[in-house]
Amino acid sequence: MWIYEKALQHPVRVSRPDLSFAKLVITQYGGPDGELGASLRYLNQRYSMPTGQAKALLTDIGTEEMAHMEMIAALVYKLVDGASPKDFEEAGWGGQYAQHNHGLFWTDANGVPWCASYIACLGDPIADLTEDMAAEQKARVTYEHLIHLTDDPCVKDTLRFLWEREVVHFQRFGEMLNTVQEHMEKKNMWCGCEVEE
């Protein structure tokens, strides 16, 4: 069951509208290494995790990623604030206006729509947690790219916050992998049997 808290996790501010950058940062909304994918990956994998701790961590980080998706949405909302159709065209984002006006949608920086192939769930905790760690690294690197692509200090602050969250998540998933591997060793999981806690 999900409850929504009516506040962003971290403030989102822009110095000025910037459609060219909005077109790039949207990749963290609906791209391969973005927050939607992260959230759905973790919230889906949690059902087949072997321990309560793993279920808890995936639920919690998956939920936090939803909050991050909201921050990216807020960022795009502010970056396109007041833009005319001509502004969109000049920024090379005419297609976005044509299909969505000032609305948001889940695509990458090239307009490719979000796809479930971006995520996986093997039902094997080692494979799944390893994928999660890889995902956090890819997200971290993408935020580095985006920070390099903007001069706006307010935008950089928001993206640096999200960048650091990926580092912390990597640590947590790594710790959970440590624990799960130890757990499976004790329960002789090599045979792939279902485990009691």
């Binding site: 409850i3 929504y4 808290e5 009516k6 506040a7 962003l8 996790q9 971290h10 403030p11 989102v12 701790q53 808890a56 961590l57 919690d60 980080i61 936090e64 909201e70 949405a73 807020a74 909302y77 502010k78 912390v168 998540h169 947590r172 710790e175 959970m176 624990t179």
Partner: protein
Amino acid sequence: MNCEQQMRMLIEVQEMQFVALELNLYLDTHPCDKDAINDFNCAVEMLTKYKQAYEKEYGPLLNFGIGGYTDEAWQWVNSPWPWQL
């Protein structure tokens, strides 16, 4: 509506909420860490105060009854919403 005051009260909520969240994730992988448990509970105490103060001025942060009773006016529908602040 004093926007500056709202932002000031909101950031207090966001800061303490973040402390609680960070400790929550830490405790998921370190469930026996007593220091973290104590600090989490301290954060919750502060967070509850900051949230109550904020909600008194600017309306509910939570819906579906999780945030408690409503006033005569149904404030949940009020703007600004978070991406507008």
